[in-house]
């Protein structure tokens, strides 16, 4: 126990003090802080931006222009400001004047109208130098639609009550069905999806980064031959678990720093509004989800960490490591992508089946808990399978490790490792 602690603290101290670790953590933290503020900035730039100036020729259909002006006038922050331009006589001359206005930057684009008797409403074209100026064209489209509707309604001579009935929006509330008394409201669902997504990514990164770290460290120890002294000082089992635990703490520290930076930034007052706009509210997070996130992170971490440790132990040169960890990397990638795919179909039989496969379940069980509300026995079964797998893989990894650390030369095949395991009587 004592020497395991020594291995653990040595691993931790070296990692926490290494420059590469510090730099990576800082860079990731900065990225996350920026990322956490992105919705706020987007909000700021889109709504805070001034209205797009759109020109029109004064002799165009007056009702229409008036309608548009009243529509934009009603908006809190109008997206479009209409700018009248004096008619120049002929259509060509008008176009030239308008284009000149764009060049002079008095307007960003202009509208032209072609009478369409069939529709009873002119065809409108928005001319602009910008490509795909969807915001403006969407605003114009909505405005024109309203103007047209108003005209039609006026023509139909409806009463005020009728009008109100017509324009009051349909209300559709969506509530998730759940065992507990209150299902998740749309807002909670949005939060759940966001949180699930975030935690699956975190889980994936934590497993990949720390797993690779363990494998690299073990191979480095082997290739620098310091391993020979270490395995003669402390039993390989203690060494392996010391290393896995030490790296776990390091990973946890990193995770806490990163998640902490994100959460602190997200809960800053200026961000709260932007998130509300996106339908995400941090205070609606289900504490059950957080507990499962921690449990599944722990199990997932140890499952993969021990696999990585076993692989690291049989490779003698760091150059060969990338190739050797490929199968495990593939497993994590598969789990990750299945989970991302499952965000939109958390109930599909495929996802349900995958939530029982130990290498995928850390990702997918969490996805189901977050989004699909599985029965308690389903959760228990999946966690149970995962727990048993962690123990089995740990036992197997310890055996492989015991043999692997002393095998030098080319990367041994499974058969060779198995034969050596028998020969070493481990």
């Amino acid at each position: 126990m004592n020497s395991m602690w020594t291995v653990m603290s040595f691993t931790m101290r070296n990692k926490l003090r290494s420059k590469s670790f510090l730099i990576t953590t800082i860079i990731l933290a900065v990225l996350l802080v920026v990322g956490a503020n992105v919705p706020y900035f987007i909000d700021k730039f889109t709504s805070g931006g001034s209205a797009t100036k759109v020109g029109y020729i004064t002799d165009e259909p007056g009702d229409l222009i008036k309608g548009l002006e009243t529509y934009f006038g009603k908006q809190e922050k109008p997206q479009v400001q209409l700018v009248p331009i004096e008619a120049a006589g002929s259509a060509e001359a008008d176009a030239a004047v308008l284009k000149q206005a764009i060049e002079d930057k008095t307007i960003t684009g202009y509208l032209s109208f072609v009478t369409n008797d069939q529709a009873g409403f002119p065809d409108v074209t928005y001319h602009s130098k910008k490509m795909l100026d969807t915001d403006t064209s969407q605003a114009l489209q909505a405005a024109l639609q309203e103007v047209k509707t108003n005209q039609a309604v006026q023509d139909a001579k409806l009463t005020k009550e009728q009008l109100q009935k017509l324009f009051s929006p349909v209300k559709l509330n969506s509530v998730q069905i759940s065992d507990s008394a209150n299902g998740k409201t749309a807002e909670e669902q949005g939060t759940a999806i966001g949180l699930t997504y975030a935690i699956i990514i975190l889980l994936f990164m934590a497993v990949m980064i720390t797993g690779q770290l363990i494998a690299t460290e073990i191979t480095a120890e082997k290739s620098s031959r310091v391993m020979e002294i270490i395995v003669t000082s402390v039993s390989p089992l203690k060494q392996m678990f010391g290393k896995v635990l030490g790296t776990f703490i390091v990973g946890l520290v990193q995770l806490v720093v990163l998640v902490g930076a994100t959460v602190v930034n997200l809960s800053l007052p200026h961000n709260a509004d932007s998130f509300k706009n996106l339908g995400i509210r941090l205070d609606t997070i289900d504490p059950k989800m957080l507990i499962f996130a921690v449990v599944l992170y722990l199990l997932g971490y140890f499952l993969y960490a021990m696999l990585f440790a076993a692989i690291g132990s049989i490779v003698s040169r760091t150059e060969d490591l990338g190739q050797a960890v490929m199968p495990v990397t593939m497993l994590t990638l598969a789990g990750f992508y299945i989970a991302i795919f499952g965000l939109s179909h958390p109930d599909s039989p495929f996802i349900v089946a995958c939530s029982y496969i130990p290498f995928f379940s850390p990702f997918i069980l969490f996805l189901r808990i977050g989004l699909a509300n599985p029965a308690w026995w389903e959760i228990a079964l999946s966690v149970g399978i995962l727990l048993v797998s962690v123990l089995v893989i740990g036992w197997l990894a310890a055996k492989i490790y015991r043999v692997g650390v002393l095998m030098y030369g080319k990367k041994p095949s499974f058969k060779e490792v198995f034969k050596a395991m028998k020969a070493y009587k481990v």
């Binding site: 020497s3 020594t6 101290r13 070296n14 270490i230 003669t232």
Partner: protein, 300 residues
Amino acid sequence: MNPLVVNRVMKQYGDKTAVNGLSFEVGAGEIYGLLGANGAGKTTTMRMVLGLIMPDGGEIRYNGKPYGEEQLRMLGYLPEERGMYPKVKLSEQIVYLAQLRGMSRKDAEANLRRWLDRFQVPEYYDKKVEELSKGNQQKIQFIAAVIHRPQIVILDEAFSGLDPVNVELLKTTVKELRDEGTSILFSTHRMEHVEELCRNITIMHKSNPVLQGPIREIKSRFPREKVVLSAEAPIQGLESIPGVQGVTRTEQGYLLQIARAETAQDILKHALAQGPIQKFELLEPTLNEIFIRTVGERHE
């Protein structure tokens, strides 16, 4: 009871036997030589002693006890393939290794300083291993093997890659450890080191111990077959003495190869008849020759 007793150990890898029925004992304050050509089974033997691999047959006892966790702590190991953490501070990793073997941090630090002073490199304490020359890394590795005052030390090719000055320094240190009562299992290809340091040896060949015992005894088992002779004037007719198998002229005189020790007296008489003799010596076989004979002959 000797600190280290190896009793008829056997090890097989698949159908290949790596060590076959090897027995030896290392007493307190003794350096035991384990010799053999490459692939003879020395490293396997050492790994079994270190408890890295379990013997298939036979047993190894440490102070009369079988291998266990406490036994690990009294072992020190200098592997043939040297290795340290290249990017970790020297004090950090040596103290770590000492701690793994049950030493307290404070003791380990104090001990390390003492050793560095002893090797006259106290400034290495805060350096990284990658900053040191290969020879100096060797010294550090040696410190790592003995810092926790082990009772049994295993030195695999202890002096390879060192310059003569450092070889002497390490040799002196090894002798001091011996005089303090440490049991040392020593393997090398340099026979002159074995002759200087070891009392008993085992020569292994293709997994089997082929020659075992005190060096004196082993040497006496081999006939003396070489005579060194030098005189003021050249000596004629050495080749014609019966029993002389070959004569080589050297700068100092002659080196004669003889079949039986008695021939030496005939040579001396023959030479004296021709004039005064400056040097006459009947050489005992060197360990090198014995090794080559024992291992080489069996190669054929």
